[in-house]
């Protein structure tokens, strides 16, 4: 009976640790400087020549964007699966095992929470980017090259958000590895 109660309390504790904190933004969890001035913001106004190229190469531009859309979907699935493995198969189980052995590590539990939050952010950033990319593909670049270019800039910003999220997750993985190595040396 006592074992059952202990297991139940343990399950609740781990579930609570797994939930993202409501009052902390995911970006505050990791101190990674975001790039405030992406390179593409240097020149946002296309020249008449560039607008002419957009109209002229409209079909090939669309084809390239559709290729990018397919490649992105594949990458998202691949990365998502790896993050899921780290979060569920590794971090969660390690923390459970540590708790059961009475060597609960607050730092590792915190990393698990941060990783979960950042993984959610990666997913949401990808959705936001995909929506903008789809809008971009739907713009008639032959007739409205300026509108197309404005949407292209917005799509690049959203793509950059996804890339930044991947970098933040990578930093968290590196940080987690260091923490486990430290724990290993203490055993």
């Amino acid at each position: 009976m006592t074992k059952k109660i202990a297991s139940f309390l343990l399950a609740i504790a781990v579930t609570l640790a797994f939930l993202p904190p409501q009052n902390i933004r995911a970006t505050e969890a990791v101190e990674i400087p975001e790039n405030p001035q992406p390179e593409y913001e240097e020149d946002l106004t296309p020249s008449a020549e560039e607008l002419g190229r957009i109209s002229g190469n409209c079909s090939s531009i669309k084809l390239q964007l559709q290729r990018v859309q397919r490649a992105d979907a594949k990458s998202r699935v691949h990365l998502g699966a790896q993050y899921e493995t780290i979060s569920t198969n590794l971090m969660l189980n390690l923390n459970l095992r540590l708790v059961k052995n009475n060597v609960a590590n607050a730092e590792l539990a915190d990393q698990q929470t941060r990783f979960f939050s950042e993984r959610e952010r990666f997913k949401n950033d990808f959705i936001g980017y995909s929506q903008e990319l789809e809008k971009l593909i739907q713009v008639n670049c032959k007739e409205h090259p300026q509108e197309f270019y404005d949407q292209l800039i917005l799509t690049r910003q959203k793509r950059s958000d996804v890339q930044q999220s991947i970098y933040r997750l990578q930093e968290l993985i590196d940080y987690h590895r260091n923490s486990v190595e430290t724990l290993r040396s203490l055993l």
Partner: protein, 127 residues
């Protein structure tokens, strides 16, 4: 005794009612489908749905068997050997992520790659 009953009932338009039923049922089905699809799109699930036809071609789908990694057990004692195994597994997953770390760089939609700028596209060096 067998006299005909007086019938002052209104005529029943069976055919017309059947058509009406079909039209109403179709309208309800179409509108609920439209609402479902708009929610599916608005929430962004459409971009995460791997089973969406044509989203990822069969030959492009990642081999899921490669993703099968042994779980780190939540049971048992914690020793240095266990943590070594943990770190090995983490390293394996990490190496897969590092191979795709720049998949969302700006390069594929840069002005150069799209042929908007007259500069040559920057070719990313693969490891």
């Amino acid at each position: 005794m067998f006299a005909k009953k007086k019938t002052d009932q209104r005529p029943i338009h069976g055919g017309r009612n059947l058509i009406l039923l079909f039209v109403i049922a179709s309208t309800i089905a179409l509108s609920t489908t439209a609402i479902s699809l708009s929610i599916y799109r608005a929430t962004g699930d459409i971009y995460l749905d791997r089973s969406r036809p044509g989203y990822i071609a069969e030959n492009e789908k990642h081999n899921e068997e490669d993703d099968n990694i042994e779980k780190f057990s939540s049971e048992g004692a914690i020793t240095q050997k266990d943590l070594d195994e943990y770190l090995q597994t983490l390293e394996l997953v990490d190496s897969r992520i590092r191979n795709a770390i720049d998949d969302f760089s700006e390069a594929p939609i840069s002005d150069e790659t799209l042929g908007i700028s007259d500069l040559e596209p920057v070719v990313q060096e693969s490891e």
